[in-house]
């Protein structure tokens, strides 16, 4: 535990050092989605460091705060890779590290089309106490999250998750649909889920002056997601579903802030979740690492 604390402190120190050293800025244009993905990948060579929180109500147990950090790197213009560290705090119980995830998103087509597919593959190694609700799949229901941390953390989930992301940007709007299939690497059946999203900036034209609060920097949207059962019981029976209006504020300095109140749509869902996040985009991160390994080239 002490070792983890040291490494966490070291990591935070390194992160702040990196932020303190000059890194060219790149303002993102991030949609407000927290669960759904669109086809807009990270710019090549850019590293986006993100932190998200999910505060949740829990019937039959104490409320919780699930949190995670994401490191999203644009390896190329058609491939984005991400690494996550998850944790949670259950009020009145404990705060624990729950595991990590690694994901890759690949854009197979080089041009924009009527609908733009992106292939998504994720490996996750988390324990059963994980409460970030980054995706909802299979028969995930609210009562699964009422198990005390001391018990839930003993069981580990190693899963492969596949998504087909279909997304389109049209007249300032983004529409996206994600279909997901998850396979626990133990002997559990395939589980399925979905996420849908729509978003639009508050205005479509850029302002003629530099500003942080111009309408163009705010993107409003809504997402809906839920489980679709598993291989043996596909459908909506005993599944949870959520509707989440959200707002993203993309600052020209490279910061993005998101907030998303989330409402459960049936009795199997958490009644209310409040999600929020902050991210910063380091442009030229790839070049900096390249210089580190290969030295300067004039």
């Amino acid at each position: 535990m002490f070792a983890l604390k040291i490494s966490t402190r070291l990591f935070i120190a390194l992160l702040f050092t990196a932020a303190a050293v000059y890194v060219p800025r790149l303002a993102g244009q991030e949609n407000p989605y927290i669960v759904a993905y669109d086809h807009n990948l990270e710019e090549p060579g850019s590293l986006e460091v993100e932190y998200f929180s999910t505060f949740g109500t829990q019937r039959g147990g104490p409320g919780f705060h699930g949190f995670w950090s994401e490191f999203e790197y644009g390896a190329t213009a058609w491939w984005t890779t991400e690494f996550y560290l998850d944790g949670q705090s259950t009020f009145g119980e404990s705060t624990i590290f729950t595991g990590f995830r690694s994901e890759n998103r690949i854009r197979p087509l080089k041009n924009e089309h009527f609908v733009n597919p992106v292939l998504y593959v994720e490996f996750e190694n988390v324990n059963e106490a994980d409460k970030i609700l980054k995706e909802v799949e299979g028969h995930d229901v609210e009562s699964d999250y009422a198990v005390p941390n001391a018990v839930a953390r003993r069981e580990r989930d190693r899963e492969l998750e596949f998504k087909l992301i279909l997304s389109k940007n049209y007249k300032g709007w983004n529409f996206t649909e994600n279909t997901l299939a998850v396979k626990n690497l133990s002997n559990d059946p395939w589980e399925f889920g979905y996420a849908l999203g729509a978003s639009r900036p508050l205005t479509l034209k850029g302002a003629t002056h530099r500003c942080n609060f111009c309408a163009q920097h705010f993107i409003a949207g809504v997402e809906m997601y839920g489980g679709l059962g598993d291989r043996y019981s596909f459908g909506l029976h005993n599944t949870s579903h959520y509707l989440a209006p959200g707002l993203a504020w993309n600052l020209p300095s490279g910061w993005t802030f998101r907030v998303e109140p989330t409402f459960g749509l049936n009795d199997q869902s958490h009644q209310f979740l409040l999600r929020c996040g902050a991210s910063y985009e380091f442009s030229g991160f790839g070049e900096a690492v390249e210089r580190l390994f290969k030295g300067h080239r004039e």
Binding site: Q29, E43, E112, P201, L204, G286
Partner: protein
């Protein structure tokens, strides 16, 4: 153990692709092919497009701010080019039709590290086109 093997493979792949030389403007081109040749690949539908903001004097100003926010880190200050992306003050860009520049912005050149900017609304992409055109007009005027 298999899991760690998987991570090792992913890590090596990440380093190989992630640390490959950044686009120098001509990386990935066929021999003799300039990066600017992508402008010629714009479909006729785009080539015929007119900039709906061509008469809007503010469009280039707003485009300049958008350029600073989204493009400058690769294309350099005032679009003179950088290590990662080519100059937008080249004769090929000056001669390009507005629709061709708009097409590149909307579709990117993903195999050559130019991201897709369709996430910017169309009016903002046209504002960027106005700015790029204005930059090149400035250059032409200063030569006269």
């Amino acid at each position: 153990m298999k899991v760690y093997g998987l991570f090792l493979v992913c890590g090596v792949l990440f380093l190989v692709v992630g640390l490959e030389p950044q686009a120098q403007g001509r990386r990935g081109d066929k021999p003799g092919e300039s990066v600017y040749s992508e402008l010629e690949k714009a479909p006729a539908k785009y080539l015929e497009m007119r900039n709906p903001l061509a008469e809007d004097k503010d469009a280039a100003i707003a485009g300049g701010i958008l350029f600073e926010e989204h493009c400058e880190s690769c294309h350099g200050k005032e679009a003179v080019g950088g290590k990662k992306a080519p100059s937008l003050r080249a004769p090929e860009v000056r001669k390009a039709r507005p629709g061709a520049i708009f097409w590149i912005l909307s579709n990117g050149i993903v195999r050559k590290k130019m991201p897709v900017w369709s996430k910017l609304p169309e009016p903002e992409r046209w504002q960027l086109v106005s700015y790029i055109r204005a930059l090149n007009e400035e250059k032409t005027e200063s030569r006269k």
